[in-house]
Amino acid sequence: MIKEFINYISDPIRSFPIVTILFILQMKYYRTFGTKKFYFWLMIIGIPLVFLAATDPNFLLILTWPDNVPISLLILSLGFFTWLSFHKAAVNDARIEAGEPPVEGTPEMREKVWCWPNLVYTELFMSIAATVFLIGWAIIFKAPLEEPANPTWAPNPAKAPWYFLGLQEMLVYFDPWMAGVVLPGIIVVGLLAIPYIDTNPKGNGYYTIKERPMAMGLFLFGFLVLWIFLIIIGVFMRGPNWTFYGPFEYWDFHKVEAAFNINLSEFFWVKGLNMPMPKNILLREIVGIVLTIGYLILPGTLFLRMKQGKEMLSKIGNIRYYLLVFLVLTMGTLPIKMVLRWLFSLKYIIAMPEFEFNL
């Protein structure tokens, strides 16, 4: 019963909003989240739960699949380090509020030490330890090699390397050209651009959330929810035919999911106006085009009307401002597209397959 419930809420339709809410709560109550007590209880409750879940044969199968073992470890360490940074930020923010400098800014922390041996030697330790770990791992878990590639008998599901599964998940909602080329390109360029856009010196060299709520919120939403969460979905819950399978669900090859998606233009012309689709492509897609342009222009300009917007513009200047707005809006397309797909089975906002241009 509980398993079925977990399967039910794990579907991205439900789990994505849940995770988003959890993320917002985490950002809001980061000081509670950042306490050692919280982490302690999280572990006390969480670890037995994971073991309990692993008694399920289907879940165990996914968990112990050689490809997935390292991913589980990564997720655990990611959880820990997320908590650690929140913990440090919480401590620092409390100190700043009390008028003290952050921990990293205390005089003893500012003391300088020799590069050798303090850094180089310890780095050598780490490299040895990592080598030992990798060797041990390689011996215990054999390489999950499969049969020779057969073009007529592709593996199903065909999965990308785990670190691309977030991108692969995006393929569910976007045209391959968008999800595979444009968006990843923008992600990379956007990440590169962060140091040039973000000129705010606050938070340099120390952990803080209170001083940088927007920067932290936006980045962590993109990273934790739009990237890591989608990877988790892609690794553990996408089975044959890229169909969603709950963590306790058997990967039945023949599972069928109803999916019939409609373009916005079809909504507008056929369902809304009850008339045939115009022959002119631009006319046909006019609603989508207008909406897209509106989406790209309006939020940025409307924000400028507000006090915070004006403040920001004056701080960082025009180019930085518009770049930031563009990047944030681009990031926003993913959740928007997801929600539209779940609510309306929307396929594309602009559908111009004639030019390989679908949004």
């Binding site: 330790f125 040895i128 049969e147």
Partner: protein, 940 residues
């Protein structure tokens, strides 16, 4: 930072060093672990065990050899030896001198060898210099010539000295040998006695493993890359390739890494993997047609031959559930994942024969495959499914073109509805009342279809008038005839159950309930007398029955009734259902309304006929039956030519709980083809239609084996069995022989001859003649003529050679087949005139009388019942060389023949004539037989 360190230091250096030391040790341990992990392989343990088994085997051989050794003799010899050795020690001085002499000579020899070698080189050089100089007319040519000659003379002298020393050495050695002659002789005798044992002991010593330091050294970790004895053994097979999808690579089979003794005799009693291959003479053995080094292992067995990680990696497949449980316990066996061709179950291994042995009706020694082939023929699988190698087969079932003359419509409907209700042996499969269509709503529709099909078939049936009239007969005599003349080779017959069961005939229908089936007795008489009158291309032959005989048989067959079936009344046509089904057809590419309009245009009869026509197409009746207008329609089934390579994911297992593998699917499909629809919501038109043949386990198993062998593997030409000129002719002829079921009666060189199973227990000579070396026995022209005009050869047989409606091409193929099988020329010359040596003919006549030939070959000599063929035909029918061979030892050709052997073990029974000279007697008698035949012929 609670603790304070030196300025500029964050850590305590000593502590760091300790950490470094710890990590370094850890890394070292891990590296050791790497080597250990790499070193410990499961197959090494197996190989060590193999060696211990080998030692145990050798020990038993040593024990046996020891028993053979005469210990007394050995002791005596050894005593002598020690005595002689003592004697020898007295000659020590002489021996020393002799040995010294040899050393001296050897020294001289060595020195001379060097001189000779230097001279040889000099001569060569000088010769080249001189010849070049001479060629270029240089002034120093003469000078060089002299030098060369001088060297040559010296060389010859040196060679001479060499020979002399060699001679001296020989003599000296002989001298030494003479001194110790007795000792050597005793030693040799002892060796003779214990040599083979000592060899075995040495071999056992060589099989030592863990207790042998050299073995340990060679197989020690890390240095075992040099020359290990524990190693992966492999066979690279170039004749059969592995399909790696982008490239075909030679097979690499490493099975012999663990199956150490697979090609060695003597390990038959061991358990796997140490067992000897059970069929070394056919497979694996050096002299077998499939030697291991050329064929490998997985070429036949399937599986992943190159994988030796562990037991499961090779994709071993258990033979049955019992073995599976055993393996799970022993090897943690699991079904292989992602392996396109796991190993075949042991009992399916013959499947692999098929991919290389193409173009033949039967594969030699392929018992299960051949059974599968015959079952495929029996059920006519190829009628609906395209199957590579079965394209030439005839339509399996009777023609429906003149069906109205044979049966009535009511029978037709009931029969189609449930063939097994009429005849449980029926090969007509069941289409209706099956797992996926026995719901009442589907039954109603099915009945409408059957009604429509009957009307349609009747509407296109041609009229037929029987040639002969039925005038009543004696049923008992008819039954007797049926059992005697050979009907049972093709037909099972009610009333002759025992015989039918024994023979297991499948070419024709099981004859039961004929009285309820056949509408017109005249038809049956005509069919028996002259089958081609009704159906020109039937394989049913004429037995040259007299009218009386035909009437008797008809009387018997018509007396077989199936009352229960006769009482069945088929539901009349349900017009609503008919229209419904028609509508779904018409709606395929059209709207409901226009389909309805279309239907409305049709008259009642038109609707029925249209549904009938479509239903015949839907169920593919034309696959097996000849139906007017559908002669060229292709069968409905999927192409099975590559079924054995079809990915498992492409089989629909529905909701049936069976193993998800290819074999299980095919087998279960054959047993019940409709089961995949169970639990699936389907509309009437989408139901599976493969009918149910009610196969037995065995039949389904054998067909499954064949289908598993229908693989897509590309076998290189050199890997395929390429028929030679003889085999090609035999294969072609066999197609005809199989089509007309010649093999139902005749054993051909020891194979087939189903009907003989019935005669075997009583008297095999009462059955149809066994054809052994028939191509050598008979004259080709006689044979060709005989096949078209069958005449009596063996009057004492009740079973008859039928007259088949063979084309001249078919006759030629059969004749050529036998010729090729015996590797004979088409014609053997018949000497026109028989020339006798002096007194030979008298001897021949005496032999004829002495051996009393006419007591069996009576025809033309007395009025006794003949029990051997008429010799008047001998000259036209038989080949002279064969008569000789036959006379010499009839039992060698036909075991159990009544023809006596007069020259048993090369000794004549009558040793008065020709002084008992076997060759002369056989020669004379052969000539005499041929002369008799010639004379009798002339008289005619």
């Amino acid at each position: 930072m609670t603790k304070k360190h030196e300025p500029g230091m964050a850590y305590d250096m000593k502590k760091l060093n300790k950490v470094f030391a710890f990590l370094s040790v850890l890394l070292l341990v891990t590296v050791g672990w790497v080597f250990l992990d790499d070193y410990l392989r499961p197959w090494k343990k197996v190989q060590i065990e193999a060696q211990s088994i080998k030692r145990a085997k050798l020990q038993t051989k040593i024990d046996a050899a020891n028993k053979k050794i005469d210990s007394k003799k050995l002791a005596k010899l050894e005593e002598e030896l020690s005595e002689q050795k003592q004697n020898l020690s007295q000659k020590n001085k002489q021996i020393e001198i002799a040995q010294e002499k040899i050393t001296q000579i050897k020294g001289k020899l060595k020195a001379e060898n060097i001189v000779n070698g230097v001279l040889n080189a000099d001569v060569g050089e000088m010769q080249f210099k001189y010849e070049t100089a001479h060629d270029k007319h240089q002034v120093n040519a003469d000078d060089l010539f002299k030098k060369m000659r001088k060297l040559k003379v010296e060389f010859v002298a040196s060679r001479d000295r060499l020979k002399q020393y060699q001679g001296e050495e020989k003599a000296a050695k002989k001298n030494l040998l003479n001194l110790s002659f007795e000792v050597n002789k005793s030693k040799a005798e002892i060796t003779k006695l214990v040599g083979s044992r000592d060899l075995l002991v040495a071999a056992k010593e060589g099989a030592k493993t863990l207790d042998n330091p050299i073995w340990l050294l060679r197989n020690a970790p890390i240095i075992d890359y040099l020359d290990p004895t524990l190693k992966i053994s492999q066979i690279v097979v170039h004749k059969v390739k592995d399909d790696r999808y982008f490239v075909q690579v030679p097979k690499v089979d490493r099975c012999i890494t663990c199956h150490s003794f697979i090609n060695q005799t003597g390990y038959e009693d061991q358990a796997n993997p140490f067992k000897t291959h059970p069929k070394l003479d056919l497979m694996v053995g050096m002299d077998s047609p499939h030697p291991m080094k050329e064929m490998g292992c997985t070429s036949c067995h399937g599986g992943e031959g190159h994988r030796v990680n562990d037991f499961n990696a090779a994709a071993h497949t258990p033979n049955d559930k019992k073995q599976e449980a055993e393996w799970v316990k022993k090897y943690h066996w699991h079904a292989p994942h992602k392996i396109p061709q796991p190993m075949y179950r042991l009992k399916d291994t013959e499947a692999s024969c098929i991919k290389c042995h193409q173009g033949v009706e039967f594969i030699p020694e392929g018992k299960i495959v051949n059974e599968g082939y015959r079952n495929i023929e029996k059920f006519g699988c190829y009628s609906c499914h395209k199957i590579k190698g079965f394209e030439h087969r005839r339509k399996r079932a009777p023609s429906l073109k003149k069906i109205t003359a044979k049966i009535n419509k009511e029978f037709f409907k009931n029969w189609v509805w449930s063939p097994k209700a009429f005849n449980k042996h029926s090969k007509m499969p069941s289409y209706f009342n099956q797992d996926n269509n026995k719901k009442p709503e589907f039954m109603k529709k099915n009945m409408a279809e059957v009604n429509a099909m009957a009307d349609y078939i009747w509407s296109i049936s041609k009229n037929y008038k029987s040639k002969y009239k039925y005038s009543r007969g004696n049923a008992n005599k008819g039954k007797e005839l049926l059992g005697e003349v050979g009907c049972t080779a093709c037909h099972g017959i009610e009333g002759l159950e025992e015989q039918s069961k024994k023979i297991g005939a499948y070419a024709g229908p099981y004859l039961t309930g004929m009285g309820s089936k056949i509408k017109n007795p005249d038809w049956l008489v005509t069919w028996l007398m002259e089958p081609n009158h009704f159906s020109p291309d039937t394989i049913m032959p004429s037995f040259r029955l007299t009218k009386r005989e035909a009437n008797n048989i008809t009387a018997y067959l018509l007396s077989l009734k199936n009352e229960k079936f006769e009482r069945l009344k088929f539901e009349p046509m349900d017009k609503k259902e008919r229209d419904d089904i028609l509508l779904t057809y018409l709606q395929t590419f059209d709207t409901h309304a226009s389909a309805k309009a279309e239907l409305a245009k049709m008259s009642d009869v038109e609707r029925t006929l249209e549904l009938g026509r479509r239903s015949v197409g839907k169920y593919g009746c034309y696959g097996c039956h000849a139906i007017t207008g559908l002669e060229k329609a292709t069968g409905l089934g999927t192409n099975l030519s590559e079924e054995g390579s079809k990915p498992v994911t492409q089989f629909s297992f529905g909701h049936v709980k069976i193993d998800h593998d290819r074999r299980a699917w095919i087998f279960n499909h054959l047993k019940n083809p409709r089961q995949w629809d169970i639990g699936v919501d389907k509309s009437f038109k989408d139901l599976l239609i493969m009918p149910n043949f009610d196969m037995s386990e065995k039949e389904a198993e054998s067909i499954t084996t064949v289908l598993l062998g229908m693989v897509s593997d590309q076998i290189p030409l050199e890997g395929q069995k390429r028929l030679n000129e003889y085999e090609t002719v035999v294969a072609t002829g066999m197609k005809v022989a199989n089509k007309f079921n010649c093999i139902g009666c005749h054993q051909i060189d020891g194979e087939f001859g189903d009907i003989l199973k019935y005669y075997e227990d009583e008297d095999i000579n009462a059955g149809p003649p066994r054809l052994v070396g028939e191509g050598h026995r008979v004259q080709a022209d006689w044979f060709y003529h005989f096949l078209n005009n069958v005449t009596e050869i063996r009057p004492w047989l009740t079973v008859r050679m039928p007259s088949f409606n063979l084309s001249s091409d078919e006759r030629n193929k059969i004749v050529a087949m036998f010729q090729a099988e015996s590797k004979m020329n088409t014609f053997e010359e018949k000497s026109e005139k028989i020339s006798w040596l002096r007194g030979e003919k008298r001897g021949a006549i005496a032999l004829w009388k002495s051996y009393d030939c006419a007591s069996c070959h009576t025809q033309g000599f007395n009025n006794d019942e003949p029990s051997a063929p008429n010799l008047a035909n001998a000259r036209d029918r038989l080949r002279e060389s064969w008569i000789r061979k036959w006379l010499r030892n009839p039992g060698a050709i036909l075991p159990g023949t009544t023809m006596p052997n007069f020259w048993e073990d090369g000794e004549a029974t009558d040793d008065d004539i020709f002084g008992g000279d076997v060759d002369r007697q056989i020669n004379a008698l052969t000539k005499y037989v041929l002369e008799i035949a010639q004379k009798k012929k002339q008289k005619k």
